[in-house]
Symmetry: C4
């Protein structure tokens, strides 16, 4: 494999630079929201290079590097098989050990623009019991449109994590899946949207944990869940910043 950086169009170069900056910066939100410790957790963002989503790239953080040391330059540009693109900044390092799972999602879900993985406390607690989070608070209906599903137990090192994410989230309203015994993966139309989902899934995992601990919860009727979800997806936020 050549060690020379490939020649992209100026437009793609600009997109790569923007995604590197965004992915590096958004890792800070994982720290700020208490979702990660030490070097755990990872954020990635898709780079759209043309009409064929199969030719897209993505940017992800290096493995085992402190959150304080993440910069646009040491983010790693990968192809959709999860291989670092030789000759590009950061490519001398190993990408996140979860890179294969991110790559699988980008290959099989062309609308996904961002992927996030953490071991946030309460989301992992539900995952350790293999129990979906029931939709008993309106913020969860707004954001996820129903319960947060559990994905299969999968060992790192082959495609099984990526496959479990894609199988669970395809056709599901939720942008978050709790991989059994492991933790949450979230997807979004862009990186920021996936990070928001990672923040919100821990928030609802924590709140519903405490709610249920103290007695029976009141279910939200399905038609109210549907109505909350539809309104939030279409109305919330500023027009320049809508999620979908």
């Amino acid at each position: 494999m050549s060690n020379e950086a490939p020649a992209f169009t100026p437009e793609v170069d600009a997109t790569i630079a923007a995604v590197r900056a965004e992915v590096a910066a958004l890792h800070g939100e994982l720290v700020r929201n208490g979702l990660v410790v030490w070097t755990g957790g990872n954020v990635s963002g898709r780079v759209r290079v043309g009409d064929d989503p199969g030719a897209d790239l993505f940017v992800i953080k290096p493995s085992g590097v402190s959150y304080d040391d993440l910069t646009p330059e040491n983010m790693i540009l990968c192809d959709l098989e999860g291989n670092a693109i030789p000759g590009t900044p950061g490519s001398e390092r190993s990408p996140s050990s979860d890179t294969a799972a991110h790559a699988y999602v980008y290959r099989h879900m062309p609308d996904v623009g961002g992927v996030v993985h953490t071991h946030s406390t309460f989301a992992v607690a539900w995952a350790a019991r293999g129990e979906e989070i029931p939709c008993v608070i309106t913020a969860m209906a707004d954001e996820f449109g129903g319960p947060i599903p559990i994905g299969p137990f999968a060992i790192i090192g082959d495609d099984s994590i990526g496959r479990g994410i894609v199988q669970t989230l395809t056709g599901h309203r939720s942008r978050a899946v709790l991989m059994q015994n492991h933790g949450p993966f979230t997807i979004g139309v862009n990186t920021k949207d996936a990070v928001k989902a990672a923040v919100m899934v821990e928030d609802v995992a924590r709140t519903v944990h405490y709610a249920r601990e103290a007695g029976p919860m009141i279910p939200i009727p399905q038609d109210a869940i549907d109505s909350l979800y539809n309104r939030y997806q279409n109305v919330y936020g500023q027009s320049e910043d809508t999620r979908r």
Copy 2:
């Protein structure tokens, strides 16, 4: 509707500027006290424009904007129907998605000077069970004069949230209501007072959650609750900073 800003008296202009600054700044207390994540939560403040409280205005945050980016200038000035006043700073953006509920409270409770809404963890946990918080700690007797009540389940998008808040809090000592399956709304004589109530309701929701989890709690006799509440409302704090 004209797009020109209305002409207020210099006194009202000064009040608007002061409320914009206060509302923008007090959003920072929600973050600092861990009551909100991402762009959730909202604070508003009444602008008194004359002798008729029905002609008052209020200032509220824009929808879906990061807490880091809130400034006096992007706060939105609304009439008591919840419509942004055209031509005023910030009016090109959508106000908070909870604006209708704030407006309803200002219309129906003329003494209310500030309204706050959050999805703070423990308050929402009680709300998901539809269970009022019993008054078993003296700080709660001081601040709320008894239990924190539950409001009805209400869907966003019409007046039902505002109506539920007003029906529950009218004639009640508590300045906080936990809307079922949703979360806390608090009111105050001014914005700071409503923010204080939002901070305190989460504090007591958390403390009483942990207290009850571990065994039976000791009730406080009603006459002691009354005595604590009356003293605190009349004596506490500096004379220039009393709440009522």
Copy 3:
């Protein structure tokens, strides 16, 4: 009562200045350790003025003032009845609403150099059940020499809180008492020592809460508690910084 500041010796003036500075600064430790919200909580320090401890003074924070705004100058100098000394800096404001309890402790426990009160979450949770914290962790044996006791239910506004603190802690190893339905008061040989006790009592209240929630705890034999307590009181820390 004259409004002129009394004339102290230069030595007493220097002590007052030092205690004002220390008390103001140590309030910051309550915030940093998450023991207080809004304007709750208070720290005081004794000013020794001569051979008669009954003639001592103490310094305490003003009532209802934000932690951000506390300075040595707005701390309030009080006599042992809890009255602000007229003409001294800060005396135009009301002292903390818990001043009477601090004063009672200084009057009746001449060795006490500092008093702290908070509504820290887990300590209040034990207090709401009226349940002492059992000594099942070595850090608690080190610091408190046994369980943290419960004090009586007492209404603010007369001497009953101060009396409850003094009756409970006199002759007790613990420097912390959990006043029933109210919260922790801690004492120390100086202000810093009392603040340390406030930090440690919340730490052990939280840890033992979680420990017990999940199953039976292993008791520490009384002779081991004694041995840990005696060693820690005599050996720990630097000679210039020992507590006793």
Copy 4:
């Protein structure tokens, strides 16, 4: 005993300086990760001085000093009996009250390059019950290769803590032991590795606490634990930063 600093080779002097700086800085990670309060907790690092590990030294923090005041210069250089080396910077102060336990570990485990002790909340909660943390989350399999074991109850002041640590961790995959009724001690190939273990043991102690509180957890099959552990020890991180 002479009060003159011993003459080391320039290489050893450089190593001492590097370990002092690293040990001082890494104490900050205990604070940042919420593992310690007040002056509790301690970090040490081995100084390799030649071919005989029995002649090594180690650097540890002084006893009872605020985390804000720790610097490379006030770290204390000790021999493997835990005695401060006279004449070296910091040697006029008492080393951490846990120094004997650190020394025992360095004497009996020549591969250990760093030791950390904290009273972090959830790890101590498991220790108060004398209950090992079961391996039900993949992050725990990665990092510790199985459950976190409990060490014996041991009183400070003789070799019993050190002996308990060494007996429990020798031949064990886990780099963390929960000393009964006391708290976690962690070891590592270097100081940073031991600090990482202290951060991770609290993270898994907390997550598994919450997981189990809410219902039965799903075990991870032993062969999956083995596979996760082996992969993580050999693959994770950058080649210049691997742990083993």
